[in-house]
Structure formats: structure tokens, C-alpha cells
Amino acid sequence: MFSLLWRFFPGPAWLRAIVLAAVAVALVYVLVAYVYPWVALQFPEQEVTVDS
């Protein structure tokens, strides 16, 4: 899969490295901004109150 990615983008090696780094940064941004906050909501919440 990593070799497929490497062959997917055109251009010289240094350009591919830059493009792949940019893709990785975008992926991390999407994870932090959208995916992880959504995952956080899927956990069962902890009770903190004494019941009335």
C-alpha cells in the first residue's frame, strides 16, 4: 500500500515526498478536528452526581 501511494503521485522523488507529507498533515488535521471528537462521544459517560 505504501508503494502504491508512492507510485500514485507523479513527479520527482522530492516532490512526491513533499506531497505525501502534506497529505499526512491533512489526515492528522481531519483526525483531530473531526474524527477524535466524534469518537470521544461514543464512550459511555461516567456518573458524577449523587442520585436524588
Partner: protein, 237 residues
């Protein structure tokens, strides 16, 4: 191919494990600090003259932010907003509120029990994460539009979730309120493994300082950011 996908998935899960403490420990804490500073500045700007009687905060509407808790024991610059009710999705789980006031308990400034609840762990907001850092004599400052109510931490205990008498006007005792003013904080216990029990921290009211006098000297000493990072107070505003 499958191995590489599993590798990526593992890195993704690892990323979540890194992200969650960073989110609740840094992002949300800073957001609360900023929101609290805005509230402080607003209250200081509209400070009323003090007539010598400790004011009782007016009962707010459900979900409304009416106070800020400053607790240097939870972190030097710790400040977290307090809103009415202990409902999950209107107060406790929201990272712009986090601490909820039990509606049936009393307010700061009147005899009785000012009881609060907040999360101690979890991925959303952990306002009471450092509750076990409290030591006897540690100050807790509740700031409202009227001023600063200073409480002194006394003790902590573990109870079962149905022991509601910790919310009594004097915790654990039956009867009408005396003259004591108690701050009770409830949160989950154990910290990270479910919530079969509750940790309950008690503090006793000590003094009141009107909003027009600025933050208490003890708070500024423990949390130097209170002196500089906030909007100008008093005459300067």
C-alpha cells in the same frame, strides 16, 4: 497490504490516546480559562457598591453560567465556570461549562450547602480531575457577579451513589440549616475505572470580598496570572 493497513489503524488509535489527554488537559482547560477571564472582566466592569452584607447569588436559570471556580490546587491558573443544574448535556459534558450546581442546594452567601458536580475523567471535560490534590487548608474561590467567596478545604470522603445526604444543608446531618456555609464537590470514583462510587470534597466558607476590590490577595499570590492576564479592574476599567 493488510499489514500496512493494520499499522496505519494502530497509529490512528495511538493518536487518539495521545489526543484525548491533550484535548481535556490543554485545549479545554485553556478555553475555560479564557471564558472565565471574560466573565471576570464583565463582572468587574459592572461591580456594584458593597454595603457590608455578604450577598446571596440570585438563583440562575437551568444551564445558565453564574459563577467561576478558581482552585489553585487544581492547577496554578485553574478557572472553571459553574452553571446551574447537574444535567449531562446542558452542563456537565459541555466544555464551556463543566461544573454543575445541584439545583436543590443553596447558593454561595447563604447558610447551607453549595453543592457542585463535575467530571473527573473522560474525553469531554475534567473539571474535577485533580480533586485528590486538595489538602486541608487549601483555598477555593467562587467568583460571582457580586464578588469572591473564599472556602477552605476540610476533608474528602468516598460514598455510594445513593447517599444523597451529602447534599443536606449541613452534609450528613438532618435538620434545618444552621449558620455554616459549606461547599461540597461531588465527582466519580474510582478515577479511571467506572464510577461505582463518588468522591465528595467538603470545604467551609471563610470570607467574602466584593467584586470592586478585585481578586483576593491569596488567589493572586497562588495564581499570579490573575493579576496580569485579566482585563483591568476597578478605576482602570
Amino acid at each position: 497490504m493488510i499489514g500496512e493497513l493494520l499499522l496505519l489503524g494502530g497509529i490512528g488509535v495511538l493518536g487518539y490516546i495521545v489526543w484525548q489527554p491533550w484535548h481535556t488537559g490543554t485545549t479545554v482547560v485553556e478555553k475555560q480559562r479564557d471564558l472565565a477571564a471574560q466573565d471576570s472582566a464583565k463582572w468587574a466592569a459592572e461591580a456594584k457598591p458593597y454595603d457590608g452584607v455578604v450577598p446571596v447569588a440570585a438563583a440562575p436559570a437551568a444551564g445558565e453560567v453564574f459563577a467561576v471556580l478558581h482552585a489553585p490546587a487544581f492547577g496554578t491558573s485553574y478557572a472553571n465556570r459553574i452553571a446551574e443544574t447537574t444535567d449531562w448535556w446542558t452542563v456537565l459534558n459541555l466544555d464551556d461549562k463543566g461544573i454543575g450546581h445541584y439545583e436543590k442546594t443553596q447558593m454561595p452567601g447563604e447558610p447551607g450547602n453549595f453543592a457542585l458536580a463535575a467530571h473527573r475523567s473522560g474525553p469531554l471535560i475534567n473539571s474535577f480531575r485533580e480533586i485528590m490534590n486538595l489538602r486541608v487548608g487549601d483555598p477555593l474561590f467562587v467568583e460571582t457577579a457580586d464578588g469572591w467567596y473564599t472556602y477552605r478545604f476540610r476533608s474528602i470522603e468516598y460514598v455510594l451513589p445513593d447517599e444523597t445526604d451529602v447534599l443536606n444543608p449541613f452534609p450528613r446531618l438532618e435538620g434545618t440549616p444552621g449558620t455554616d456555609q459549606i461547599l461540597t464537590m461531588t465527582t466519580c470514583h474510582p478515577k479511571l475505572a467506572g464510577s461505582d462510587e463518588r468522591a465528595i470534597a467538603y470545604s467551609v466558607f471563610e470570607s467574602f470580598q466584593p467584586q470592586s476590590d478585585g481578586p483576593p490577595a491569596e488567589l493572586v499570590k497562588l495564581n499570579p496570572t490573575m493579576a496580569g492576564a485579566q482585563a483591568p479592574r476597578g478605576d482602570a476599567s
